[in-house]
């Protein structure tokens, strides 16, 4: 057994992987602390894994951290003191917190007496991402792994040639401080959103604008034939702890957005902000496509895996999937840092003699429920044998249902086990779900879920995005049928980030139920915007009471909140 740990930069997580490469358990710290984006050492997650896997944890022989702590620390500190003086905000912060970040991993993990005998290893950050993608990919080789994120160890982009699970060549890489990911985060910051959690809002906003600043942004960065030009003088992330952009960026694109409130379409500057978002999105797409072109040109390999935080940008993914030379494009369900713990642990299980079967389980976070509690405190409407029938009837009656079923989704997207669901034809209801319940800005769309057959009726689907849509990793264009019937789940540009339900899941069984008077459901994660996804029944009831929703789907039946 192997334990992978990711922590201290994005959402921290822990993965337990067996010797033959199966993901036994996966826990994100934010599920337990209930602090969204919790990046602290995943103490609660490790405790949970030890408690829930009593038979397995004594067999853990190795623990692997998803990056090399000293390399990551030195990379930033060397750059900042070399280029911005010894005593800047970032250097002070880095020195002050030397023992609080990644460097504290050994100290923190050593506190677990249950893990005292385990050997500790440190994997390369971008290899952790690569292996998280490999775990969910078809086992044929060679293939190319493209990893793009803000920063990982010392790299921000890596291209690997994967000859087998135990033979990998580094083809090309880009070192910090030059970073496409940090460029996008700086624009996120400029538009008044939080770095590391507001990037998806910038992506949604981009559809409303025109890329009028694209030429300006090309002055900041460009990529051609393996040469990356990046002007760091437009940014301050290399020396500041509270701002990502410099005065020079303001001179280029104007004043940043400063507001406590959500941006909505009535804002007098909405179109200006949308143009900036559109320009950032456009240049991100063009540069990443050039990186894929370069990888293909160098290797002539047309099967790709893509990971790192930038792979969460589903609009970008859709553009890559359209590239003519691409035969396959695979993205793990959790391509960002939280999924890197899975990759690191999976690497330890890789044996040159074994070809790993593809992992198809998208719901790996084990949860224990208190049946007695909900049966005592909620009204039971349907028993456990009539869950599908009952859920279909409630949706037919134009109700919003909440699901808290089985294991929680591995990735950040709700795929039916932790979802708010309602009939996608009902525009009013979808609007209520999006703005009143989820409290989102009015320009952020709600995603739909459907069967593969239905997706072909309403959207332009090909083999590549068919698979990507199982984890909502891409967007697709709607056809005229969808425009007539399903406006509520379409974005401004007539695209949708669809989920194609995997067979034998709750959501697939619901969609194919004989009681279902619907074929597409609006599906969004079961949480309020500043909270992590609901994990336990207590979280579910708390969220429902806060939102005023009534119907809870569980493994023990369907319940109504009193």
């Amino acid at each position: 057994m192997f334990l992978g740990v990711s922590a201290f930069y994005h959402e921290s997580s822990v993965a337990l992987v067996s010797k033959n490469g199966d993901l036994i358990d996966f826990q994100k710290e934010e599920w337990h602390s209930r602090v969204k984006g919790d990046k602290s050492f995943p103490k609660l997650s490790i405790e949970k894994i030890i408690k829930d896997n009593q038979d397995d944890y004594p067999n853990i022989t190795e623990i692997i951290f998803y990056e090399r702590p000293l390399r990551a620390w030195l990379t930033v500190i060397k750059d900042t003191i070399k280029n911005h003086g010894y005593l800047n905000d970032l250097s002070k912060n880095y020195f002050r917190n030397f023992f609080n970040g990644s460097m504290s991993f050994y100290k923190e993990i050593s506190k677990f007496k249950e893990l005292k005998k385990c050997k500790i290893k440190y994997f390369d950050h971008h290899l952790s991402h690569t292996y998280s993608a490999l775990m969910y990919s078809e086992s044929f080789f060679p293939k190319i792994s493209v990893v793009i994120d803000g920063i990982g160890d010392n790299k921000t982009i890596s291209i690997y040639k994967i000859n087998s699970l135990t033979d990998i060549n580094l083809i090309w890489s880009l070192d910090y401080p030059y970073s496409v990911g940090l460029f996008y985060s700086a624009i996120t910051d400029f538009l008044g959103y939080g770095v590391n959690n507001g990037e998806f809002k910038v992506m949604a906003l981009s559809s409303y604008g025109k890329p009028v600043f694209k030429d300006e942004f090309y002055k900041i960065m460009n990529f051609k034939d393996g040469k990356f030009n990046f002007d760091t003088s437009f940014f301050s992330y290399q020396y500041s702890t509270n701002k990502s952009y410099s005065e020079k960026l303001l001179n280029l694109i104007g004043e940043p957005r400063m507001s406590l409130n959500n941006l909505d379409m009535t804002d007098p500057n909405f179109s200006k902000y949308a143009d900036i978002a559109s320009s950032a999105q456009k240049i991100l797409e063009e540069i990443v496509i050039k990186i894929f072109d370069y990888a293909y040109k160098k290797t002539k390999i047309n099967n790709f895996i893509f990971s790192g935080g930038v792979a969460l940008n589903s609009t970008l993914v859709s553009k890559i999937s359209d590239l003519s030379y691409i035969n396959s494009l695979e993205i793990p369900p959790s391509p960002g840092d939280s999924g890197a713990s899975i990759g690191a642990a999976f690497y330890l299980s890789c044996d040159p003699k074994i070809t790993k079967p593809i992992s198809v389980n998208l719901y790996t976070g084990k949860v224990k429920y208190s049946k007695y509690f909900i049966e005592q405190k909620l009204n039971k409407l349907y028993d456990d044998k009539n869950i599908i029938k009952g859920a279909a009837e409630l949706i037919n009656d134009q109700k919003i249902i909440c699901t808290c079923l089985g294991n929680i989704e591995t990735g950040p997207r709700a795929l039916g086990n932790r979802s708010f669901l309602c009939d996608a034809r009902n525009e009013e209801l979808v609007k209520k779900l999006n703005s009143d319940i989820k409290r989102r800005s009015d320009f952020i769309p709600t995603a739909p879920v459907m069967s593969i057959e239905t997706s072909k009726k309403y959207f332009l689907i090909n083999k590549i995005n068919e698979k990507l849509a199982e984890t909502m990793s891409t967007i697709v264009m709607a056809n005229d049928n969808a425009l007539l019937k399903y406006k509520s789940i379409l974005h401004f540009d007539f695209t949708a980030r669809i989920q194609i339900a995997k067979k034998n899941t709750f959501i697939s069984n619901l969609l194919s139920s004989e009681n279902a008077n619907f074929e597409i459901l609006a599906n969004t994660s079961f949480n309020i915007s500043s909270d992590p996804m609901v994990y336990s029944l207590e979280d579910a009831i708390m969220t429902m009471k806060r939102t005023g929703l009534k119907y809870l789907i569980t493994d023990f039946g369907i319940f109504e909140i009193r």
Partner: protein, 247 residues
């Protein structure tokens, strides 16, 4: 954890701290709901958590009302970021209170904190001028008082449960609780809050001592860090790299 705001100069930043304190309480209550077995107690803590979450949002409404007059403040410094609840120390992830304390002590803690919260909001109210915000704060104060009262009920329920469990005489517990021990708990929390305030007040002073030390450390170690060469990747098979090394 409750702040005592009467001497704090910046009202908006004080309100921001209050919102994190309420958010921290919400997380503590939600954690408590998962820790207890009794469905009644579970639901009680869930309801309590919901109130604390709402207080966080309400305080931000008050902030929005006040911010109109404060042109000097940067929304970036005020914006609610859930992670700050850990960074600012409003929850200790090494042990949530319900795990750290015995259940009885936890309930005592809740009681005394809610009571102190009410006092703090009372003082805060005096510094707020607009009617809408005063109404919001008054609503929060009433609820804090309600939570303090219901904590006494909860404590009595626990005593009754424990009486059944251990077979002790009910009268014994009713005589012993809640008054004397609750007074002690109240005093304990008040001292803790005072210490916290002293720490906050002296933070600037402490920074003046520690900052030069950090600067000295940087001046000594930064040149050394420049000399350390990061290892080259093995391009032939990157898996031949040494994965036992932190560099």
């Amino acid at each position: 954890m409750i702040l005592t705001p009467e001497n704090d100069k910046n009202l908006i930043l004080t309100l921001v701290e209050f919102s994190y304190a309420e958010y921290g309480s919400a997380l503590e209550m939600l954690r408590a709901s998962k820790f207890v077995e009794s469905p009644d107690l579970k639901m009680g803590y869930i309801e309590h958590a919901i109130d604390e979450y709402r207080h966080t949002e309400l305080i931000y409404e008050v902030i929005a009302n006040q911010i109109i007059d404060s042109e000097n403040l940067n929304p970036r410094d005020i914006k609610f970021k859930p992670l700050n609840v850990i960074l600012k120390g409003y929850i200790d992830k090494n042990a949530f209170l319900v795990e750290k304390l015995r259940l009885k002590n936890f309930v005592e803690f809740v009681y005394s904190n809610e009571f102190l919260a009410k006092i703090s909001f009372d003082k805060l109210k005096l510094r707020i001028k607009d009617r809408k915000s005063i109404k919001i704060i008054s609503g929060i104060m009433e609820e804090e008082q309600g939570h303090a009262d219901s904590s006494i009920d909860t404590l009595n329920d626990i005593m009754r449960d424990e009486h059944r469990h251990w077979g002790y005489a009910k009268k014994y517990y009713e005589n012993k609780y809640p008054q004397s021990k609750l007074k002690l708990a109240f005093l304990r929390e008040k001292i803790k809050n005072r210490l916290r305030l002293i720490y906050l007040k002296n933070f600037k002073f402490l920074s003046n001592i520690f900052d030069p030390l950090i600067n000295l450390l940087i001046l000594v170690f930064a040149p050394i860090s420049l000399l350390i060469k990061l290892p080259e990747d093995n391009r032939k098979n990157i898996l031949d790299n040494d994965f036992n090394s932190i560099i």
